[in-house]
């Protein structure tokens, strides 16, 4: 059967499943809408958390990024999973014990201040929207490549699906669709990985194939990859290039940022007891680790496969996938030495990085690029986001596997988008309306506001997907830095200190956020030409600066709290209470 038909079939069946689940688990009260009634089984919550947390970035982009970064790609692997440990040990059980609906709820009550709550809502909305824009781009890529529809149509279809199950079902609907989405996405990720691992190393477990010898050759995969890359003039795949302090800071920023992601934290409000929060954190990380230990294997396989298939092959005889991705503009080839053969090597193939295509075809049938060619020998531009999606095609796997990957990528993007939409809507209806501006509304009205704000948030997210602001791709990675410097420290201090008061917490959040934001804005938007290790403070890149912002947050919160009067007695009682599991 042809690929497009299969993709429609598999994606269609999975969508029908999600909608069916949503109708079955419709939310009827704010309690169900915000935290699914608090009765989710720890294993189900573990799966839902895993799907919630593994976004389009984890599924689509991560292995591709590592593929081209080599060892330094470990910052994402360690950063995102390591943050999970912080979440499980330092936040989840206590916040579950606190037992309210949202993250600003905790900040607002622990720091007995509407201003603190309001600042937390702002941080949350900012972090969540930057994150959601990335999901919508993921949905767009998948639709345009595999369903061959316009990106805009794709985004609208995605919006409608999320609308149905997030607005109707609330947290309850989202939880059970996320369980289904986890199953779809992990299956879709593992099947091609296993296929490719068998093809290259003969080992059916990709995690082990990663450290095995190449089939019928007496050389380890990673050694072979180093050799091949050295031949082309690249550094070793297994060597680190970035400075140690930068790798350290990026990893730490991603960790603290992950632990401070509101849409993940609220998942722990949905289980019945404190001990269930711990157990489900364990399950969630196990489910996540299946994908995360496979990803680096996929990265190395695909880099090797990619070079094997492309380098020194004639353009006219390249496989169809190459031309398909070229047609949607994510691969380009400029024949610098006019030999009709593709040469791949280090350095950017084009000036200005991204290709600008003309409407013409070159003499070999390739799309003509208007960029000035750079003066190295590399002729290939490839968008790193496509490696996972193109991988099964590069390895010439059957069509149903390719269709499955498309459905998996959609599951990853939609599940995260839904989780984010829910925290945005609950922050607005619960924290802004009920707790700050309209304290007199009843449960039914609050539920109405929650649905309204979810609908509006979806519309805004859709607009981000259709007209992606140029800065989106750059900003998504920084959502973590911002979460690390604003939300994470005040949550930690709220639990582990009784002395931090509202003034301290507010000044901590504001100072951390302003410092991080201005560092990023300066290097990314105001003076991008200065964005190099020579100009960074202490050699820390904008990706890693969230750690410094976090320290600033801690510093100001502690100093200012110790200079002002301690929190009232009932707050000390509250902290004592959340420290006890029962």
């Amino acid at each position: 059967m042809d690929l497009q038909f299969l993709t429609y079939l598999i994606a269609g069946v999975s969508f029908a499943l999600y909608i069916g689940i949503a109708l079955w688990s419709k939310a009827s009260s704010t309690n169900e809408f915000y935290i699914a009634g608090g009765g989710v089984h720890p294993i189900a919550n573990g799966m839902a958390t895993a799907a919630d947390w593994m976004s389009a970035a984890s599924f689509i982009s991560m292995a591709g990024i590592i593929s081209f970064m080599g060892r330094d790609g470990a910052v994402y692997l360690m950063g995102w999973t390591g943050g999970y440990v912080l979440l499980a040990l330092l936040l989840a059980p206590y916040l579950r014990k606190f037992g309210k609906y949202t993250v600003p709820d905790f900040i607002g009550e622990r720091y007995y201040s509407k201003i603190a709550r309001f600042v937390a809502v702002l941080c949350l909305i900012f972090v969540s929207f930057t994150y959601i824009a990335g999901q919508m781009r993921g949905v767009g890529i998948v639709f345009s490549r595999f369903l061959e529809v316009d990106i805009n149509t794709g985004v609208v279809v995605g919006m409608v699906i999320v609308f149905i199950y997030a607005v109707l079902g609330g947290m309850k609907g989202i939880t059970y669709t996320q369980v289904a989405q986890y199953c779809v996405l992990i299956f879709a990720y593992m099947v091609p990985a296993i296929f490719i691992s068998i093809l290259i190393t003969g080992n059916p477990v990709p995690q082990l194939g990663f450290g095995s010898k190449i089939l019928n050759e007496d050389i380890y995969l990673l050694d072979k990859l180093n050799l091949v890359l050295n031949d082309l003039g690249f550094n070793d795949y297994t060597k680190s290039i970035r400075s140690k302090i930068d790798v350290f800071c990026i990893t730490a920023a991603l960790m603290a940022g992950t632990a401070g992601l509101p849409h993940v934290i609220v998942r722990f409000f949905t289980v019945p007891r404190v001990r269930d929060a711990r157990t489900s954190a364990g399950w969630a990380l196990m489910f996540i680790a299946i994908l995360y230990t496979t990803a680096p294997a996929v990265s190395s396989f695909s880099r090797l496969n990619f070079i094997d298939t492309i380098h020194n092959s004639e353009y006219q005889t390249t496989p169809q996938w190459f031309k398909n991705w070229e047609n949607i503009g994510l691969i380009s080839w400029s024949d610098k030495n006019n030999d009709g053969i593709i040469q791949y090597g280090p350095g950017k193939a084009l000036e200005n990085t991204k290709p600008i295509f003309s409407n013409q075809r070159g003499e070999n049938g390739e799309r003509v690029v208007l960029n000035k060619p750079s003066d190295n020998n590399n002729e290939i531009y490839i968008d790193r986001d496509i490696m996972v999606l193109a991988n099964p095609e590069i390895a010439a796997l059957p069509n149903w596997v390719i269709a499955l990957v498309a459905a998996g990528a959609l599951a990853a993007a939609l599940s995260t988008a839904a989780g984010l939409l829910l925290v945005i809507s609950s922050a607005i209806s619960h924290d802004l309306m009920k707790k700050i501006f309209r304290p007199l509304i009843n449960d039914k009205q609050e539920l109405f506001y929650a649905r309204m704000s979810a609908a509006i948030a979806i519309a805004i997210a859709g607009i981000f997907g259709i007209y992606p602001p140029a800065f989106v791709a750059q900003v998504v990675a920084f959502a973590f830095g911002l979460a690390a410097s604003s939300i994470f420290p005040v949550l930690i201090m709220g639990i582990f200190s009784k002395r931090i008061n509202s003034v301290g917490a507010i000044s901590g959040m504001v100072s951390g956020l302003i410092f991080t934001l201005s560092y990023i804005v300066f290097f990314k938007f105001i003076s991008p030409e200065l964005n190099s290790p020579d100009h960074w403070i202490l050699g820390i890149s904008p990706e890693g600066i969230g750690v410094v912002g976090m320290l600033i947050n801690f510093f100001f919160a502690i100093i200012i709290s110790s200079l002002t009067k301690p929190p009232p007695e009932e707050i000390r009682t509250l902290v004592n209470k959340i420290r006890q599991p029962s």
Binding site: L89, S240, F248, T251, P296
Partner: protein
């Protein structure tokens, strides 16, 4: 009140212990001493490289499993299981 205070201290000790393993496996083996560990090889992996791309993640899972176990035991000792 005395029992509750020591429940909290035991909790803190467990967390500090587990977070030191967390730090050693990721920032330690994966970043700070990773070049040293690269001198050793297991199968096709240099040990430092393996820690940075797979080993740390596996350690993280074990840390949380151990945490659940230790905390459940602690809850039992202090007879304060959540209902």
């Amino acid at each position: 009140m005395k029992i509750k205070l020591s429940y909290w201290s035991a909790n803190i000790l467990i967390v500090i212990f587990l977070l030191s393993i967390w730090f050693l496996s990721s920032f330690g083996a994966g970043i700070l001493f990773t070049e040293y560990l690269d001198k050793f090889q297991i199968g096709g992996f240099k040990v430092g490289f393996w820690f940075s791309q797979q080993g740390s993640i596996i350690t993280f899972v074990l840390i949380i499993v151990l945490y659940c176990f230790l905390m459940n035991r602690l809850d039992k000792i202090y007879n304060s299981e959540g209902e």
